[in-house]
Symmetry: C2
Subunit: 348 residues, 2 copies
Amino acid sequence: MPHYNADHLKVFCQHIFGQLGVDFDNAYKVADALIQADLEGVGSHGISRLTIYAKRMKEERINPNPSVSIVKKADSVLLVDGDNGLGQIVSVRAMEEGIALAKKSGTAAIAVRNSNHFGAASYYCQMASEAGLAALVLTNSPPGIPPWGGTKAFFGTNPIAFGFPTGTEAPVLIDLSTSVVARGKIILAAKQNQAIPKGWAIDECGNETENAKEALNGAVLPVGGAKGYALALAVEVFTGVLSGAAFGPHVHNIYDHSDQKANVGHFFVLFDIEKFMPLNTFNLLMKQLISEIKETPTKAGVDEILYPGERRHREWQRSSKEGIYLSDELEQELIQLGEELGVAFAKK
Amino acid sequence: MPHYNADHLKVFCQHIFGQLGVDFDNAYKVADALIQADLEGVGSHGISRLTIYAKRMKEERINPNPSVSIVKKADSVLLVDGDNGLGQIVSVRAMEEGIALAKKSGTAAIAVRNSNHFGAASYYCQMASEAGLAALVLTNSPPGIPPWGGTKAFFGTNPIAFGFPTGTEAPVLIDLSTSVVARGKIILAAKQNQAIPKGWAIDECGNETENAKEALNGAVLPVGGAKGYALALAVEVFTGVLSGAAFGPHVHNIYDHSDQKANVGHFFVLFDIEKFMPLNTFNLLMKQLISEIKETPTKAGVDEILYPGERRHREWQRSSKEGIYLSDELEQELIQLGEELGVAFAKK
């Protein structure tokens, strides 16, 4: 089994970005965000994205050295233009500015336009937690979910994420898409000629389907029916409308052949806990809440109740020791990318 | 069919509150919030709550004349103590202060503790919309939802609400509980000896049940499974932990016989749109977004795609003309309440 040392993979990513013209600091930031996702078992938002990011930077569809700028500023508001940079570069910068503002004012809302896929939303929640802030993180994404009653994908799978410090290494991290399931799972089932569970997707006529190929011509359903539609819409308004980014079907997919920039929008809201109560008190209350949750009687077959963020923390602990698993396919893809750009692939 | 004029019902509520010692302004505020819910077809949060509110005020479990106070203040943060007043009195006051703060600073987060049931969350989103603000409104509530894998209700059905102006009379209003269904629907099914759909609730062993009575001994399921659990937890942290209110099973139910105050917590986040872009521009973009949503092809049997808030606006238009329908049971209950407190019931 090809398990790779996380630091070696991070250096590989960093060198790849360097070869593409990304400056040293930013290359490190993106590499860190990608490998963090792999360490936490969220490989879909990790190094598996490197090849497409590289391809789009080579084609100049994504700007390797964006001039991220603050377009508007108020006591507790920032409007950020990402200059079509990688979402991680834009978002880490926006978060750094936002954390400083929230520490001063108590709350900060940061709207970002002209960005790209920013990886896992939980990464920014973690940044906030480490600074003693609670966070709400939203992003839009290319069309995946139809409006309720519609047959055509309109909203992105628009994740909603929250982070809360706990005074331990493992903050509460909530990161959920407003779709029932990631579109990637349907793509995989279609490739393998497998059926998908009822309730995941509709065909192009809007009927529920268990046929993965039909589902790919239709749309992924919102979580909880009309409730998920409403949540996806709320995310779209904050990230796509209030930021001045693209919204709905106007958000472009970097996996599509096109020369359009994605113009993804993000929205971060940060809350300085110290402005409400001492952080120590908050941490004690969080520990009480978590231990009371864990004391709830469980149903048959459930050994333990986990809080959101706990599983990914355990996964992080495990893979920090054992390394990150890459599929043969991904390993080959990365070796080839390294060869194209003159970067030796990571040692195991 | 007993349909009542909304203004007459509002005056009746106001007089009832007056007899219970609520001052004139506050009596008007609560009456307005309750009747607004009835007008919008959300009777569960309307005048049907009057009798229990009155009972608890008579017993001094709810304070009719709270000294709502601002305990902490920062540039964009308010921490409010509701002094155990009716949730509507406390929340309207918190919103008034919060709107002023958001207009100044750009964003405001208002955490409220020591409050009670505040009616429909959408009411506060409407207040914000009318002031040109986007809003996120959260509240906790007595236990209804188990943690994922658990068998016992722990979190409230903790609603999440959003409001966005549209430049029309009908803002986007999203108001959803993090449970699959309101517990009231299960109580009703149990009374009528009817089965409930699979997926609504679990019995006391944590198994899914279609038996309404067994469900009442168990718990209501979170919307979208583990995702709803995570959302209910996020709401609980903002409303119950960060505010210093009660959380989880420590929130008391005013329908239970007990002498405990509820100590409900709320959390409001307000965003001044003008700090991001001119309100007119925002309204134009919202109109574009809404019209594009409505142009999405619909599945068979769906005439029209609605945006969240549109149905309740139509209901409001209809019942403003035709009056509010009260069931015979509710009508009798209110007549009796009026007799007890020396207030003539509303004319039709």
